[in-house]
């Protein structure tokens, strides 16, 4: 066993030496140095496509972030229920397209027990949140007691002036 291993090792040594002795490099040292100097001089040109791709990728990410339309962003939720800020009743249309950026944002009137304050809706079509003016009851206004006596007791809003 040991003899066979030694034989194999000797064969390996001889074979590798013979194989290596046959090798004659075609490129000389001077050629190699010239090639190295040339490639070192032009290295930015090799990286230019990679740099351009990286810049385009960064710009695309920034653009998506600014527009709020990054991939996977949820669609804005349409307000449920009838009623608009103009007091008109709008029938729900499940298959209607989403509102355009220029169209007015609709929202349901708040419950009467809701505190007065900014109302935040689901947001405009391009994401984010939008603040619309709150619905105010006339009775809550400070000048509510200053209405003239001829003002009807029950107005269109269904509220009765106090005082």
């Amino acid at each position: 066993m040991a003899d066979r291993t030694d034989d194999l090792e000797d064969e390996l040594r001889d074979m590798l030496s013979r194989r290596a002795a046959d090798v004659r490099p075609r490129v000389t040292g001077a050629d190699l140095r010239a090639l190295a100097a040339q490639r070192g001089k032009h290295w930015p040109a090799r990286l230019a496509p990679m740099l351009a791709a990286a810049v385009v990728l960064v710009l695309a990410v920034v653009a998506f972030a600014l527009l709020g339309r990054s991939p996977g962003h949820p669609q804005p939720v349409r307000p449920a229920g009838p009623g608009t800020s103009t007091g008109r009743s709008v029938a729900p249309e499940p298959s209607s397209p989403p509102p355009t950026p220029g169209s007015p944002t609709t929202s349901a009137p708040p419950p009467t027990t809701a505190p007065i304050g900014p109302v935040t809706t689901a947001g405009p079509p391009f994401g984010g949140t939008a603040t619309v003016p709150p619905h105010v009851r006339l009775s809550d206004l400070p000048w509510g007691s200053a209405y003239p006596s001829s003002f009807p007791a029950s107005n269109a809003l269904g509220t009765t002036p106090t005082g």
Binding site: L8, L35, A36
Partner: protein, 177 residues
């Protein structure tokens, strides 16, 4: 002439020109034994030296032996080349027109047979065998080049020899039968 014999550790590190002049042929021979082809070995060495050239001064000042560093770079380049090669090339089925096993008994054929068996070893094992039996390096020096422990080097060499011996027995048995 091996790389280790022409690039001893000296107090003043060699310049790029000096190193190429002294070690280029030895490096190409080593890379040829690693890759299995003279053209590929030359390309390996050229790729590594061209890449190292811009920072040659810093490297030769930092590393103790620039020769060992370059051999390590050539070995790593060979392993990564093999990975890239295997992902890009599809090995065709064996051609029945050419004999798989050379005719036994002729010294050249015996050399070729051993060479072919060496080429099918995994790259780390082949590198360890070449460094041991061509460069005549010990385990510690091979461990530095292969970036592993000396025990791993011993395992690579031992497994490589075992595989060569196993294939040798198979081919002899096959030629008899």
């Amino acid at each position: 002439m091996t790389v280790s014999s022409v690039s001893p550790v000296s107090p003043t590190p060699p310049t790029f020109d000096e190193f190429v002049r002294d070690s280029h042929i030895a490096l190409v021979r080593y890379a040829t034994l690693l890759s299995g082809s003279a053209a590929q070995g030359e390309d390996l060495v050229q790729e590594v030296l061209v890449r190292l050239y811009p920072r040659w001064d810093a490297l030769s000042a930092q590393t103790g032996s620039i020769g060992a560093y370059v051999r390590r770079a050539v070995t790593n380049e060979h392993i990564s080349w093999r990975r890239r090669w295997s992902t890009r090339h599809i090995r065709l089925a064996d051609d029945g027109d050419l004999p798989e096993v050379p005719v036994a008994g002729i010294p050249e054929a015996r050399d070729e047979e051993l060479w072919q068996r060496l080429l099918v070893l995994p790259p780390q094992q082949r590198a360890a065998v070449v460094l041991r039996y061509y460069e005549d390096l010990d385990d510690d020096e091979i461990a530095v080049i292969l970036d592993c422990r000396p025990t791993t080097v011993r395992a690579h060499v031992s497994r490589g020899l075992a595989a060569l011996r196993r294939n040798n027995q198979n081919s002899r048995g096959g030629s008899r039968g």
